[in-house]
């Protein structure tokens, strides 16, 4: 029976918030002093300062498996990679790794701008774990993959960002260890480069290497990986076939950036005329979610209060991409209220965004509210809500089963008609 490539039992990583050890020493010293004066000698430990970035992680990965690691930001995915790459130690538990590990948590580690491309290939290669002989043997291939042949003897500080990236990734791509751990490295670079990277990854899995791939790119995970681990709050929430785990993950987004509530009127955005009290992104059933399928209908609900009236109000929501481009604006034109003088009081407004409109990616919602005649702005919250739109690439969306990059801030599913007109 072959040994598993990676075998982890109850891995856990704890971080203590805030103060450095030096401060803690003083704090702990004082606390123990205080404790000696207390009558019943109770040890009051402050548990809220402790964060378990990873807890009870147990799993086995066989050689040759390509495993995706998904989960919301801050769930512990990067911590898991760091522990498995030995960059940091676990607080509890243990793991056995059989085989050489190559981690790509970042490209270009160890490169120095003063050295030439050629020299940096050696430095970067050795830092990543190759021997000098390895680098020498693969040097030609590395240069060819990077595509910057004539510049190899120029100092790297003269390279463009693109060239640096290509060189760094090229070295990393030729690492050839038994186990590869990648952390979202593919998120950088232009389309042609990303294609090359995906190609390299496919090649690697074809060669039978074990791959651990942390990503937010669901189509890539579903496409490249046979298995997926869903990590949330430091724990492994799901472990199974990548298609299933990805589907489950998409159905069950996590409500955090998707909801904002201001219980206290004083802290709520707005002024003496209008105050925004709550906002949420949710599905048709009313469940607040942070992640939606591209073909899923989603709704945004706003709860606000008009304090001085009656007034004609203009309620506006703007949807922006992560890069700051406004996809569209929408105004509340509900005929009952649109141009009418509204009395004071609490209002709830809901807008429905149909499925198959938005493109994949993160959308940021901005809310503006004006009173009219004269036009005066009372509420303008720029990063009010955020949510992710994901495409499962299972054939039911505009993407079909295509796994590459699709351009556009909207992705409507339109009707095409094609006939064959001649032989």
């Amino acid at each position: 029976m072959t040994k598993p490539a990676i075998s982890a039992q109850c891995l856990g990583k704890r971080y203590t918030k805030g103060l450095s050890r030096a401060d803690q020493l003083v704090g702990r010293g004082l606390k123990s002093l205080m404790r000696s004066f207390r009558k019943d000698g109770d040890d009051v430990r402050n548990d809220s300062d402790v964060i378990w970035a990873l807890r009870n992680a147990t799993f086995e990965i066989q050689p040759g498996e390509v495993v995706g690691i998904i989960g919301p930001n801050g769930a512990g995915k990067s911590t898991m990679l760091k522990v498995l790459s030995r960059i940091t130690d676990p607080t509890e538990g243990e793991a056995w790794i059989n085989g050489r590990v190559g981690s790509l948590l970042e490209v270009g580690t160890g490169m120095n701008p003063e050295l030439t491309g050629r020299e940096n290939v050696f430095v970067n290669g050795c830092v990543l774990g190759m021997s000098r002989g390895d680098v020498r043997r693969k040097y030609e291939e590395i240069v060819e993959f990077a595509g910057i042949g004539p510049f190899m003897d120029t100092p790297v500080k003269r390279y463009s960002t693109g060239m640096k990236l290509r060189l760094a990734f090229s070295v990393a791509a030729h690492l050839d260890p038994e186990i590869i751990m990648i952390d979202e490295v593919l998120a950088v670079g232009d389309a042609a480069f990303q294609k090359k990277c995906l190609g390299a990854m496919e090649e690697v899995s074809r060669k039978g290497r074990t791959v651990l791939f942390v990503s937010h790119n669901m189509p890539a995970v579903a496409g490249l990986c046979s298995r997926a681990l869903w990590i949330d709050g430091g724990r492994i929430v799901a472990d199974g076939a990548s298609g299933e785990v990805v589907a489950e993950y998409l159905k069950d987004g996590c409500p955090s950036l998707a909801q904002k509530i201001w219980a206290d009127a004083d802290s709520a955005p707005g002024d003496g005329t209008m105050k925004l009290r709550a906002a949420q992104v949710h599905d048709a059933a009313g469940k607040v979610k942070e992640t939606f399928d591209v073909n899923e209908e989603l709704k945004v609900t706003l709860k606000f209060e008009l304090l001085r009236g009656p007034a004609v109000i203009l309620v506006q929501l703007r949807f922006l991409t992560e890069g700051g481009v406004t996809a569209f604006s929408t105004f509340d034109r509900d005929p009952r209220w649109a141009d009418a003088n509204r009395p004071t009081g609490h209002y709830v407004s809901t807008v429905t965004i149909p499925g198959n409109l938005l493109a994949e990616g993160r959308m940021i919602v901005r809310c503006l509210m004006h009173t009219r005649n004269p036009n005066q702005k009372h509420i303008d919250v720029e990063n009010l809500l955020a949510f992710d739109v994901q495409d499962r690439a299972d054939g039911t969306t505009a993407r079909g089963t295509f796994g590459g990059r699709i351009y556009g801030i909207v992705r409507p599913r339109l009707d095409w008609v094609t006939e064959r007109v001649s032989k």
């Binding site: 030995r86 960059i87 509890e92 243990e94 050489r100 970042e106 160890g110 003063e114 000098r132």
Partner: protein, 280 residues
């Protein structure tokens, strides 16, 4: 399917034990990285300055000139009968190596901070590489010393064979102390600021610009507890070749301190470095 120099590994990941010898023996597997690291540091320094490697030669020469003028001529500090330049230089040479090694090695983790949080390699490599880089400078300065000796007609005796031993001793001492300071600095950053000052004071408490004979009898025993005294006196004994026996007392102290510093330094360092990615 090429595997390269490093053999198939089976690695055990677990919370830090008291002393993990494997973190030390691993360096052998990463010896190429150590070599490249040293090569890179020297190369970069060479590229960055106009004078390049020449700085490694100019610096000791300048110090020699200034010291000879200030301490030798103006202050008229005795030099046990030897020409002052060579007297001072024979002490300055090992001191410069020690001082550069400790200063750069203690800071090595901080200066290479980025890499340490992205890729795994034995964290002992940056400080060890720093010490080796200082060694290269030492060898260059040694060339100047040889020139000096020929100039002053001081002929090296068979004692010169002791130099490699002294070098090993100095390296062990410097590495041990640096590892301890580097590990300590992970949590207590202030140590880095205090270091240059401490080193400066240390230099005055070592018989470099003045001879050991200047220190009065009862105090000289306490004074010799400074491990660098043994090294400096050792080098003087080799280079200036006085008739008396080698300075056994200071050398024994140096050897003892070097062994302790190296053992506890490595131990403390390998323990601390395991979670340094969380703090750097």
């Amino acid at each position: 399917m090429t595997h390269g120099v490093r053999e198939f590994q089976r690695v055990h990941i677990r919370p830090a034990p008291a002393f993990d010898l494997e973190r030390v023996t691993e360096i052998w597997q990463y010896r190429d990285l150590l070599g490249i690291w040293v090569w890179r540091d020297i190369r970069v320094r060479y590229r960055q300055s106009a004078v390049g490697l020449g700085w490694a030669l100019i610096q000791p020469i300048m110090i020699l000139v200034v010291f000879t003028f200030v301490f030798g001529k103006l202050a008229e500090i005795p030099s046990d009968g030897y020409p002052y330049p060579i007297f001072a230089f024979s002490g300055m040479l090992p001191w410069q190596y020690f001082q550069k090694a400790v200063t750069t090695a203690s800071a090595s983790l901080v200066t290479s901070g980025g890499v340490l949080t992205k890729v795994y390699f034995p964290r002992l490599i940056p400080p060890t590489a720093a010490v080796l880089v200082a060694l290269v400078d030492f060898l260059l300065a040694l060339a100047i010393l040889v020139v000096l000796m020929l100039w002053f007609g001081v002929v090296p005796s068979a004692r010169i064979l002791v130099v490699p031993l002294l070098l090993v001793l100095t390296t062990a001492l410097a590495l041990g102390i640096s590892l301890w300071i580097a590990a300590f600095s992970i949590d207590f950053r202030d140590a880095q600021h205090a270091l240059p000052f401490a080193i400066q004071m240390w230099m005055y408490l070592t018989p470099i610009v003045y001879p050991l004979s200047l220190v009065p009898e009862p105090i000289s025993y306490l004074y010799s507890l400074n491990p660098v005294v043994g090294i400096v006196e050792g080098f003087r004994w080799v280079i200036l070749a006085p008739q008396n026996a080698p300075p056994m007392l200071p050398l024994s102290i140096t050897t003892l301190v070097a062994c302790l510093a190296l053992y506890f330094g490595v131990r403390y360092f390998t323990r601390q470095e395991r979670t340094l990615a969380d703090r750097v």
